[in-house]
């Protein structure tokens, strides 16, 4: 609400009246001076990334605009809990990092940032289409996408080579073949099938999709999980588990596959860049024989998980404009560029300007993460954003369908269970 140059006394009065009324009604009113803003974030896997914000970005902004920006981290698993309490109470941080479909869940509590999203897009080469899948709600941008924390196949080139593979298998069937050989050689696979936050969905949804199966149609109503395609995906997963993996994966959470990979228990898993990153830091020898590849193809193509990190502004912030200004500033190449650089592609930018950014040359093995963005979707795809989608993920419907099959239940049974759950979930919302 910047004042125009031709403001008359009446305009000012009107404005004062509006903002007084606004303040009384609890609507965000313009304050003469905003001295500080708070950004809530998940504690990044890359510690220098957090430090860069605190020490460099925040300091630069304070120097430039006189506004102090606090940076508060919570653990990845706790972020949703904190966003929930902040949104419910209409108090707490001004801005927050979000993921998945939270822009939809907290629709009423997040500021429409379509205007700055358009500006940022124009400035930085345009947005990836997948960026919009998670942040555009009813035609409005409710968050500014920052980067995708993609999930890819992490594998040991040395052991694959011993088994006769110079490059990563192209299809799921070939992966199974390779896995059988590798397990015989004492190097089993390990893909999370338990109740973690991401490494389970990270490969099971893409597997499901690549067999042509879906939870629900694009109309967001028709449950289509009970299909031959699903049955084939489930049968495949059971074989992959029984014939290539360590038994323990069924109980894993997100940390376990990193641990198993770094302790050389497994030769392949699906994970974000954290394994290669940790290996380079602590196990330089092992790091030389790790590679990352796109998910294998199924009968209906290749898919990946969309795991976006975005920034939203809470409507309860006292000064929406100050937060918008900050986000706008943050996403300008002069700021976003170095911030992305410091994490070296751990966050894959949703802006085309960075398609050939120097950070991709630092570690060419990360390049597939960029390519994977084109085939990445959120859980629940192709249905539009919904609360049912969150509920299905929180109740691990798809993960448990596969996990139960791996633990020995029949394909028919596990699909029937999932279908019943999904019907309950999608009917109710």
């Amino acid at each position: 609400m910047a004042l125009g140059s031709r403001q008359s006394r009446r305009d000012v009065l009107k404005l004062t009246a509006y903002s007084t009324a606004g303040a009384l009604l609890g609507a965000p009113a313009v304050r003469a001076q905003t001295k500080s803003l708070t950004m809530m974030h998940e504690s990044s896997f890359v510690p220098p990334y957090d430090a860069f914000f605190k020490n460099k970005l925040a300091a630069a902004y304070e120097k430039e605009k006189g506004i102090k920006v606090n940076y508060e981290v919570v653990s990845v698993g706790s972020l949703l809990t904190r966003v929930t309490t902040a949104a419910e109470n209409a108090s707490g941080p001004d801005m927050t990092a979000i993921g998945f479909n939270w822009a939809f869940l907290f629709d009423d509590k997040f500021v429409d940032v379509s205007d700055i999203a358009a500006e940022i897009g124009k400035e930085s080469g345009g947005w990836y289409e997948s960026a919009q899948e998670s942040v555009v709600v009813n035609g409005k941008w409710k968050a500014i996408p920052f980067g995708n924390i993609g999930q890819l196949m992490n594998w040991r080139t040395d052991w694959f080579k011993q088994a006769g593979y110079d490059k990563f298998p192209e299809t799921w069937d070939e992966l199974l073949e390779a896995g059988i050989k590798l397990k015989k050689a004492g190097h089993p696979f390990g893909f999370e099938l338990g109740h973690g936050f991401g490494d389970n969905h990270g490969w099971l949804y893409p597997l499901l999709w690549s067999y042509g199966a879906r939870e629900v149609e694009a109309d967001g109503k028709t449950i289509v999980i009970d299909s031959d395609e699903t049955a084939r995906a489930v049968d495949y997963c059971r074989r992959l588990y029984k014939e290539t993996m360590v038994e323990d994966c069924l109980g894993w959470t997100d940390v376990n596959n990193n641990k198993a990979f770094l302790s050389e228990q497994i030769s392949c898993t699906n994970n974000a860049e954290s394994i290669l990153w940790a290996a380079k830091k602590d196990f330089p020898e092992m790091a030389k024989v790790i590679d990352q590849s796109e998910n294998p193809k199924g009968p209906k193509g290749r898919f990946h998980m969309l795991n976006p990190l975005c920034h939203s502004i809470f409507t309860h912030t006292k000064d929406q404009k100050a937060s918008k200004d900050f986000l706008r500033w943050l996403m300008a190449p002069a700021q976003a560029g170095p911030w992305l650089d410091i994490a070296v592609t751990y966050y894959q930018p949703f802006l085309h300007k960075y398609d050939d950014a120097p950070m991709w040359k630092v570690e060419p093995r990360n390049l597939p993460y960029r390519d994977a963005l084109k085939t990445a979707h959120l859980p629940g795809w192709p249905a539009p954003l919904s609360r049912a989608q969150s509920e299905s993920v929180a109740k691990f419907v798809v993960v448990d369908m596969f996990a139960k099959a791996c633990a020995g239940k029949s394909t028919k049974e596990v699909i029937a269970d999932a279908a019943a759950q999904l019907k309950q979930i999608y009917r109710a919302t």
Partner: protein, 308 residues
């Protein structure tokens, strides 16, 4: 408040003495309990009824609620995961409580002797109870890893199995492992509390029992156990309440996996309320804990207090 009131009251009715009024049993009692009761009403009572109100609504996160009556409860009942969660919680509580009771009693009897470094050993045994659960559970994540677990190492070294049991991957073993970790954390409190009970039993009773021809087991069965019953009841009640509502331990180790084999009320309610953003459903699930818990405790009270 009382100081202000007192002179005013005395002036109006000279026969009335404030000091004497306060000394009345019921007045003094209520003056004492008023503050804590008000505190509990405000911070437990009010949120509790608020929670009940939420459970009767379709209340998505960050959206206004809509009254739906008992729909959330009916829905929970139709939800196969909810039923599994109920069974899991009961089994987890029963098994862990039983282990803690038997192990705690045994340890208490052992510790009820004179030995060197008594206080130090007792304090060390309390360690599992002291250390923050979220952090100790993280250590268990290694101890239960088949590649690093002692049991698996032994089995492997003896050439019996490789890699051996999957402590958290096998659905049945996962429940077993969680019960062990819960027992590990809760047993010290059990043992120390029961030890306290044991120390009140007068030695003459044992001597009398010995004279009557009771052996070691007889003394335990007819002297120790009956006298210890009240304290066993109290700690068991505590254990049931805390185990039934356990959250941290399971949330860190398996988060309810594999395939819901270790999901319990608290973790499921949290996931539904916070993960799915369905406050109404989450509240209904959490509230479903109350009747079975109340029933268990009532049954225990009747059983343990019954004259035998």
């Amino acid at each position: 408040m009382t100081a202000v009131l007192a002179p005013a009251l005395t002036r109006r009715r000279p026969a009335f003495s404030f000091a004497r009024w306060v000394e009345r049993e019921s007045v003094f009692s209520w003056l004492m309990v008023a503050l804590p009761v008000a505190f509990l009403v405000a911070l437990v009572g009010y949120p509790f009824f608020y929670g009940i109100w939420i459970s009767l609504q379709d209340r998505p996160v960050a959206k206004p609620g809509e009254f739906v009556g008992l729909a959330n409860f009916i829905r929970a009942w139709d939800d196969p995961v909810f039923r599994q969660v109920a069974v899991n919680t009961l089994f987890y509580t029963a098994a862990a409580t039983l282990l803690k009771m038997v192990g705690g009693l045994g340890l208490a009897v052992v510790m009820n002797q004179d030995f060197r470094f008594k206080n130090l050993i007792r304090a060390l045994l309390l360690l599992p109870f002291i250390v923050p659960t979220v952090l100790s559970t993280i250590a268990w994540q290694w101890i239960l890893d088949p590649a690093f677990s002692v049991v698996n190492w032994v089995l492997k070294a003896a050439d019996i199995a490789d890699p051996g049991p999957s402590w958290l991957g096998n659905p049945h073993l996962a429940m077993f492992s969680l019960i062990i970790v819960n027992t590990w954390r809760g047993l010290p409190f059990y043992a120390i509390t029961l030890l306290a009970g044991l120390q009140t039993i007068s030695p003459e009773l044992y001597e009398a029992a010995t004279i009557d021809g009771a052996g070691r087991w007889g003394r335990f069965r007819y002297v120790t156990l009956p006298l210890l019953m009240p304290i066993i009841f109290i700690v068991t009640m505590f254990s049931v309440i805390f185990t039934f509502a356990d959250f941290q331990l399971i949330y860190v180790l398996t988060r309810g996996g594999p395939a819901n084999a270790t999901h319990v009320f608290a973790t499921y309610a949290f996931d539904v309320a916070m993960g799915a953003g369905q406050f109404g459903q989450g509240a209904a699930i959490a509230l479903s804990m109350v009747p079975p818990l109340a029933l268990i405790i009532l049954a225990m009270a009747i059983y343990m207090r019954a004259p035998k």
